[in-house]
């Protein structure tokens, strides 16, 4: 809780950005994001784009898991639905890429509602397992519905084009992907200022109580699935334009675990958490890459250590955060912020 803020209306109390300091920081962040591509080399631009995609998807999962309390291990499959939709539309309809992205989101949302149906009967672990089942069935569809999905080979995607310019370099893609991701995050943050968002939170905290309070569980649970899958679908669509190839092996259960891990590590039920978590989990493996590079003169075959170490670190991060910092990185950030906010008046 910030001190020295007196709000006179609920609207002001709920505003995303409340003080001039926050406005200043936001402006700095926006300027930094806009300026970054001119300073970064191709590799870091690639990572920046990847982070944008992952942030979009993790934010979507956070809506479902962090805010509504429905655990899903199907985020990767929903992304695949979006990616395939984009690839198919791109090849067969040739609509502008923003339309394709939107359609990818809608298609994923439709599939999400379908997958969400078991959530009426089951929740918690059972639901998580149901989503695993659903993603395996979707995987089967991708692999065997050859006329639409291209079967085991998958599909290639033509570059997205904006005002007649094909977006082929990471530099160009950055200016499309990052704003879209930012917009999606903004949308999610605003969602929780509305009735729907508050209903989600009520369901998370105790769904039976929520029902007693007059929140139709069926509608809101499915809505949460739909919104979350929409995010995944759009993220998957961005992924398709980013990698320009979609195949059945592009999105596996590992991806779904990755996004859930990102949300956990970042902080469930926190928009900031989704952003930090996705960024952190995307960049940690790359940092390890540099770590391995640094020790390679001293250790034989250091290159072969990278992938196992990453696997260990990935698992260890999940465990450590759940055991020691269940609120995730967002909580740590809050703590740091509080410290500086009160400094030097608090020991």
């Amino acid at each position: 809780m910030r001190i020295a803020t007196a709000n006179e209306t609920y609207l002001a109390d709920e505003a995303l950005i409340r003080t001039r300091t926050q406005w200043a920081w936001t402006a700095v962040l926006a300027a930094g994001l806009a300026a970054a591509p001119f300073a970064l080399n191709n590799y870091w631009l690639y990572l920046a784009c990847l982070v944008a995609i992952n942030v979009a998807s993790a934010t979507g999962l956070n809506i479902l898991t962090g805010y509504t309390g429905l655990v899903s291990l199907g985020q990767g499959a929903f992304m695949a639905v979006g990616a395939y939709t984009v690839a198919w539309l791109d090849r067969n309809v040739g609509a502008p890429f923003l339309v394709n992205l939107f359609a990818g989101g809608l298609m994923a949302a439709a599939v999400g509602i379908l997958v969400g149906l078991p959530s009426l009967r089951v929740k918690g672990l059972y639901l998580a397992i149901a989503t695993i089942g659903a993603s395996i069935i979707l995987q089967f569809v991708f692999l065997n519905w050859t006329s639409v999905t291209g079967g085991s080979r998958g599909m290639n995607v033509a570059p997205a084009s904006l005002f007649g310019t094909p977006l082929t370099t990471y530099f160009q893609l950055y200016f499309v992907l990052v704003p879209i991701a930012a917009l999606m995050v903004l949308g999610a943050a605003n969602l929780f200022r509305t009735r729907i968002g508050r209903a989600f939170i009520a369901i998370r905290d105790r769904d039976i109580s929520a029902e007693v309070l007059g929140i139709p569980l069926l509608r809101y649970k499915l809505l949460s699935f739909a919104v979350s899958s929409f995010y995944a679908g759009v993220a998957g669509g961005m992924w398709a334009y980013f990698f320009r190839a979609v195949g059945p092996e592009s999105f596996t259960i590992v991806e779904s675990i990755f996004y859930l891990a990102a949300v956990i590590v970042g902080g469930m039920g926190s928009i900031l958490g989704g952003i930090i978590g996705a960024t952190f989990m995307t960049l940690v493996p790359e940092v390890l890459r540099f770590g391995v590079e640094a020790i390679s003169p001293y250790v034989d075959n250091a290159g072969t250590l990278l992938s196992p170490v990453r696997t260990v670190v990935f698992g260890a991060l999940i465990i450590l955060f759940l055991v020691f910092e269940p609120q995730g990185l967002a909580e740590i950030v809050q703590r740091v912020r509080r410290f500086f906010h009160l400094w030097p008046f608090r020991k």
């Binding site: 395996i136 069935i137 039976i208 007693v212 675990i257 696997t311 698992g315 465990i319």
Partner: protein
Amino acid sequence: MSDLLFFVEVSLAGLGSGALLSLTALAFVLIYKATRVINLAVGEILMMGGYFFLAFAAGWGLSPWLAIPAAIAGGALIGAVVERGIIRRMLGESPISVFMVTVGLGSVLVGIVELVWGTDPRTLPDFMGTAPVFIGEAYVSRKIAISFAVAGLVIAVFLALFRFWRGGVALRATATDQAAAYSCGINVPGVFSLAWTIGCGTAAGAGVLLGSIGGIAPTMGAFGLSALVVVIVGGLDSVAGALVAGLAIGLVEAWTGTYLGGEYKLVFTFGILILMLMIRPYGLFGTKEIERL
């Protein structure tokens, strides 16, 4: 060869691999029954069992009959350490958090195996012999027949233990009502440790069997997912359910694999899973939980 004989052989093979699923499912059930944790790392513990066996039998040159118990002990040790070190700290956290901890644990174990043994698939030393087995006219793969016998025996032993052994009864008591079990003087934390130890030991044993059939690799933990379907279908807290559902899923997989094609196996298995979740989420033999405000 007649179609009927072929069908019988396919079914026998299905029952055989179903027995392996049952055995792995047993590990899930034991741990869930006592601690209400779905341990998704069972697949990886199973993999560890295979690698322990490789280390003891091929690395140290122990006879397989010493290496098997050693591998099981290794798996049990992991279970005990994990329970004491991580799971007990998570007492009272939401089941989802604990579930995710086991997902993380699985990843850590895979990484460790890759660091120690590398990522190449390995073959386990043969200890089952190669002479074919025939039941009447029907052929059964020897390894599958042995696995079936072992799995059947182990499950029978467990059923007996739950009935007659103090520890087994304590486990059942804990599963029914933790607080009541406490007040009866049952050492509930001890039961937790026991369940994890035995559960992971069972998984490791299943890993030795599985590894001797198809070889071992860091990716073999995926077998745990099929076993997860079995426990959901059979009921998360039912040993008999694990047995019945394991055999049933094994049969379904064998039939679909034979008459439709191998690519349909997984999709059928998980189709059953979702159907089951829609109709009877607590499984064929599981306990129905009633939620109250």
